[in-house]
Amino acid sequence: MNRFERLLTLSFGAVASLAAGAASASEAAGYGGGAAGSGGVSDPAAGWNHLWNEVLIDITVIGVVFGVAALYMLIRYRAKSPTAVGHGPKLKGAAAVAFALVPAAIFMADDFFLSAKGWTLWNIYRRVPPNALEIKVTGHQWYYEFDYGNGVNVVAMPGSDDYLRVPVGRPIVMRMTADDVIHSLSLPHYRVKEDIMPGRMTYIWFLPTEARKDVVTCTMFCGDNHSQMWTNIEAMPPAQFEAWLASQKKQAQGQRAVENKG
């Protein structure tokens, strides 16, 4: 009984100190959404990757402690004879309460630790920097429409060359709604997504830090061609982006002129 208590106290002490250690290590590593992007704006995606690693460590530690304990006991406590019985401790009074409260406190500590971490990054995710470039997104069955304002409207059919283009180094905010059913706009590389639905606006923002091309895809089941509701996102050097935007604007004006004539 005494030995047992000591053993368990030790093992949970170990969990607690490991969790605390991980916490302080991560604090020391400096948290705050990872590397700050241009203009002192923190990059949510970098923050996500950082938090993900921490959470992964957290659950791996818990998993290994419990897993090894289970494996050890499953092997160690095999029956010596068919009539042998177990001698598990009979917890009474204070010991029973302690074995409930102490682990509960440890679990709770970990929960609050993770909550605090999650909340900090969540605030970064939801507070759009003031200088963000705004793009209006409309989801249709089964394609996206990106409206840059001033008549520049990109209808992004899956796999076509008309896709989402954004400048590197400037926060991008997507104001999103849908036309028919609920869709979702997922940017896996930028670690963000949100559902888009008729009659409501939702938003996400992200910060492209380098020129690259990634996938935009729908993650809310929306019917037959749900799997094929996707397009690309290309983060371009700002100058290149401006040139592209200007050409689109020109095209849009041309189109409008034609429409007005007709």
């Binding site: 209006k136 409309t138 104001r175 709604t177 036309d179 008729p198 009659g199 409501r200 606006m201």
Partner: protein, 277 residues
């Protein structure tokens, strides 16, 4: 054709300010063949549009300001005209009457109101006359701004951006325009469009709560949020209806809890009765 025209005219009238009010106080609307649906705002595309915060305006004191200066908290924007050539715009009067019954929100503390004229013939004089005619309560004088546009082109771009249409009909000698209250969120986004003919104080309250966009800053915001849950917004008609599914769901939950209690207590009662019988 005449019959249809009459129906449409009544509909336009209704849109402009309510048959009762308009008919009683202003000259009868001339008949017209304008389709009132032309004036519905296509909310699906206008929802969430950010109005130009740099829109230049001039207030009732003659001071220039930008639309952005009034933001920070929800703003009710009314587009109208101040002169009464054929008919007067009744949108503002309707809004005043509705706001008088709004209890959950307080003008100034929670929101502001802005009236802008789109009639280029309006000036400080017509503005002052119109404003006086409205007979606003004193406490609202500071919070309800009446403005002239500083730049007609910029105003037109702003109204275009939310799909707000208006024009002068020489035949009818009146402006045709939707009688709509545009409720902006604190950051200047079009959040709700309410039509003056169908808007009650409750609708306006809910629209203002929605325009706060779930920001919970004070305890009363929580109550407001709870109230707003009870209604859902109909963006085709621009008004609020009771959120029936929520109450059905709550009712179902109560039913479940009752089922639990009744089955546990009821069986005991049944057994006891059986024993005594």
């Amino acid at each position: 054709m005449r019959g249809l025209g009459a129906i449409l005219a009544v509909a336009v009238l209704t849109l402009l300010g309510g048959v009762g009010v308009a008919g009683a106080q202003y000259p009868r609307e001339p008949e017209s063949e304008i389709d009132p649906n032309l004036f519905r705002i296509d909310e699906k595309s206008a929802l969430g549009v950010k109005l130009d915060a740099d829109l230049p305006l001039v207030d009732q004191e003659g001071r220039g300001f930008r639309l952005g200066d009034l933001l920070g908290k929800p703003l009710v924007v009314v587009l109208a005209y101040y002169r009464c050539d054929g008919t007067c715009s009744v949108v503002n009067r309707d809004l005043k009457n509705v706001l008088a019954d709004v209890r959950r929100m307080e003008m100034g503390r929670d929101y502001r109101v802005l009236t802008i004229t789109f009639d280029k013939n309006d000036n400080q004089e017509t503005l002052a006359k119109f404003r006086q005619g409205l007979e606003l309560p004193d406490k609202w004088l500071k919070e309800w701004t009446f403005a002239l546009p500083g730049d007609q082109g910029a105003l037109r771009r702003m109204t275009d951006s939310i799909g707000y249409k208006y024009f002068w009909s020489p035949r009818d000698k009146t402006f045709f325009h939707p009688g709509v209250y545009v409720v902006l969120s604190g950051e200047g986004r079009a959040s709700r469009f309410l039509y003056s003919t169908a808007t009650s104080a409750r609708d306006l309250e809910l629209a203002l709560i929605d325009a706060q966009a779930g920001q919970i800053a004070e305890p009363r915001d929580i109550i407001n949020f709870a109230v707003s849950l009870c209604y859902s917004y109909n963006y085709k008609e621009g008004r609020y209806t009771i959120n029936i599914p929520l109450f059905v769901g709550l009712g179902a939950l109560v039913f479940g809890v009752l089922a639990l209690v009744v089955s546990v207590v009821g069986y005991r009662w049944y057994k006891r009765k059986e024993r005594t019988a």
